[in-house]
């Protein structure tokens, strides 16, 4: 039983941990300053190609900036966004879901309508509008992504809460005199925790993708901060002469999303296995 989902959790979690380490250690790992332009070596190919040179292992972009260094520094934004956004969406979405599911009735109806209306805006458009309204910067990116994505958390968690509310242990807690807050924290939250953790992992991938989209269209963080989205946008201009400028940041995004989903999958399998009751024999 302990092996169920174990591999996925280890591989997914390992990749994510690696990305975070790279982000933290960026100043020591990166061979160059990510914004240094080497105008003599514009669009230099990766080291292993015939004209390659180990001073720029993954080549340079159209301004002669080192691709590897930019990739390493780009992990910083990804790591920050991928950590804070899931926590933010989780707190906002789950609290609203718990309140809606627990009180039911008009509270639930009102909150659910708000979620419905919110979700009827296309996510990308909504975040673009928000970013135009807010000044560019990391804080704004995080805020915009949280405000767009909390509804996913809310919907799914509310469904699970409604299922839990049918169980008699919620009624049982009420008649033992537990307060509403206590029931929510002690009986509801532990019940949906496995789901929330799984969703958190999925949200890591979503957050990284959303940030990449925003920086791709140039409304994310300040221009001097390298991000994977900006690299993809820059790489697009020289895609035929120097595909590596585009390929490496894309791979970085894909790898992150895959790792996050893999870990989420593994955790889901793991928690499912725990829910199965194996103490009673089949009749």
């Amino acid at each position: 039983m302990s092996s169920r989902g174990q591999a996925r959790i280890l591989i997914g979690g390992g990749i994510l941990a690696f990305i975070v380490c790279v982000a933290v250690l960026a100043p020591w790992l990166a061979p160059h300053n990510p914004n240094d332009q080497d105008l003599l070596q514009m669009l230099a190919p990766p080291a292993w190609s015939p004209d390659g040179d180990w001073s720029h292992p993954l080549g340079t972009d159209n301004l002669g900036r080192d691709v590897l260094s930019r990739l390493i520094y780009g992990a910083r934004v990804a790591a920050i966004v991928g950590t804070i956004v899931p926590i933010g969406t989780c707190l906002l979405g789950s609290s609203i879901a718990i309140v809606a599911g627990y009180y039911g009735g008009y509270v639930d109806k009102t909150l659910s309508r708000i979620v419905d209306i919110w979700m009827s805006f296309p996510a990308v458009v909504l975040s673009l509008v928000l970013m135009v309204g807010l000044s560019p910067g990391l804080r704004s990116v995080i805020l915009a992504t949280v405000l767009v994505d909390w509804t996913r958390f809310c919907r799914i968690t509310r469904g699970a809460i409604l299922g839990l509310m049918k169980l008699e242990y919620i009624s049982a807690a009420r008649i033992t005199g537990a307060s509403h807050v206590s029931i929510m924290l002690r009986d509801l939250v532990p019940g949906v925790l496995p789901l929330i953790i799984t969703l958190l992992c999925v949200e890591i991938g979503v957050a990284v993708v959303v940030e990449s989209i925003l920086s791709f269209v140039g409304v994310s963080v300040e221009p001097h901060i390298p991000t994977w989205g900006v690299m993809i946008a820059d790489g697009l201009a020289s895609v035929f002469q120097a595909p590596w400028c585009l390929v490496f940041p894309m791979l970085a995004v894909i790898l992150t999303v895959m790792a996050a989903n893999m870990m989420g999958d593994g955790l889901r399998i793991r928690f499912d296995a725990r829910i199965v009751d194996r103490t009673r024999a089949p009749a």
Binding site: G177, A178, G191
Partner: protein
Amino acid sequence: MTDEAGDRIPLLRAAGLTVRMGDIEVLRDIDFSLRRGDILGIIGESGAGKSMIGRVIADQLPDGFSVTSGMLRFGALDLIGMPPKDHRRLLGREIAFIPQEPMMALNPSMTIGSHFEEHLAHLGHTPSTMRRKTIEALSDVRIAAPEHVYDQYPFQLSGGMCQRVLIALAFISNPDLVIADEPTASLDVTSQGHIIGLLRRMQQKHGTAVLFITHQLALAGQICTEVAVLYAGEVVERGATKAVFTAPQHPYTIALKAAAPLLDGEWTPLASLRGHMPGLKEYRTLDGCRFAPRCATASDACRQATVPLRQKSDHLARCLYDDAEARVEFPEGAARASLGQSKGELLRLDSVSKTFFRSGWFSRKPGVNALRNVSLEIAAGEFVGIVGESGSGKSTLGRLAMGLEDATNGTILLDGKPLGRSEDEWERRIAAIQLVFQDPRAALNPRRRVVDLATQAIQPRMMRADARRARAETLLRSTGLPTDMLDKVSAEMSGGQRQRVSIARALCNAPRLLIADEVTSGLDVSVQAQILNLLLNIRKEYGIALMMISHDLAVVRYLCSRVVVMWKGEIVETGLTEEVFRNPQHRYTRELISAIPPDDMNQPWLPLLEFAKAS
């Protein structure tokens, strides 16, 4: 057993049948035989392995389970050795099944007619005759408007109707053998009578042999020619029904009989078996007689080597002792508390009604009238039983009294003062009244430990951890649980233990009224007896009043001095339990009582008589 008549060779015979999962013998050395036209009862509590026998016959053992030795013959055919393809060909033709959950067994997206068409096509009938044949089969099982039912969907029918449809489906191929796996477990007692009567009639009409799997002794006593009692994957006793039931030889059968509350006769304390049915993993540690750990008679010889089925006076039993009956110790039963009612009204419901609304987007439309004008008083220390079938509103009544639902009309008074919805009144209510839920698995938070669950009621008071633990220990002792269970979670306990924890939790703040909503209906008879005796002991210890909501009249008779009979949301009869049961006045009460198979198998059971008359 030897066959009395040479021409009646067994239709189904198992000898030494053993099913293993890994190194665990799930079924061990199963022997039985079923002759053409007979009904063999397989009796056992949950976890005894009785459904596993049906699965072997259906070639549907779960993954990892396999038959490792022994034989199972159907006529001259070897069901174990034959190719799966041939085996499958028998199913639905010569061997038919009547399942436990009629609603689940029918496809909700297919009409009743198309279920028959599918099956008949499988049997090789031409489309032109199908409809006629189906209508015939449906009228055979006493469905009043077969033409109408033909075009209906399963969810438009009641559970009893669905079971009739399934019986018609099972018998349409004129099978030699029908396996009925708890066919009435999910039905009300009045439909149970109809279904069993019908099954019996169909069986006699077609001369079919029936393997009748059940946990109800009284039911098996009424219809089975022979019975085999199963415990933990072993046949512990088998023989002619009469022989087994009048003079049981195995301590388990004796205990099972002594644990079932009776509907008439002298009130006697129930003998409850200690412990619970072992799970599959525990089989490994049970080398000898698997019943030994729960047996009062067991000696070292019982624990060391497997005990064979031995010939007793007139049947077989798997016990080393010939005087098992004399050696069974009946544990000291709980004394029935005095019937005298104490004065002082505790709870009163004054013409209470409850309507459930269907809510739409902007409107609420009245839906079901769950309760209509119900008035009821409960005195301090009084045990009142609320009986009725599903949909009678008895559970709603309990939830209203507890305050988990609001009454649409009427008032509820505690100590003469009406209970409203304010915070203070809620505190007053939960201090005096507590509810024990039907399903302890759902009523206990699976992530909390017993120590926290039992003392949930003092949690808001921020007590010191050791004081709380001490309180939990006292509660466990009151409810007969070992105190080493304090740190366990729900999944680590058996059904009976969970229900005890649930009761302990309700007792935590010493309430004056306990509402028990079908607290024993999910439990086996032997465990049920433990819980019922526990409730009697609690009365002695805490002087508590009890509102026992149950569909089981015998359970109510065992505990309660007064009974309230509910039907379609109304109280139709109320009075002292003995008087109501001996001399029921309302038509529905009479119907309810006559629908219960009598404990004494020699007494006639009305539903069977009715069917015998009709055919």
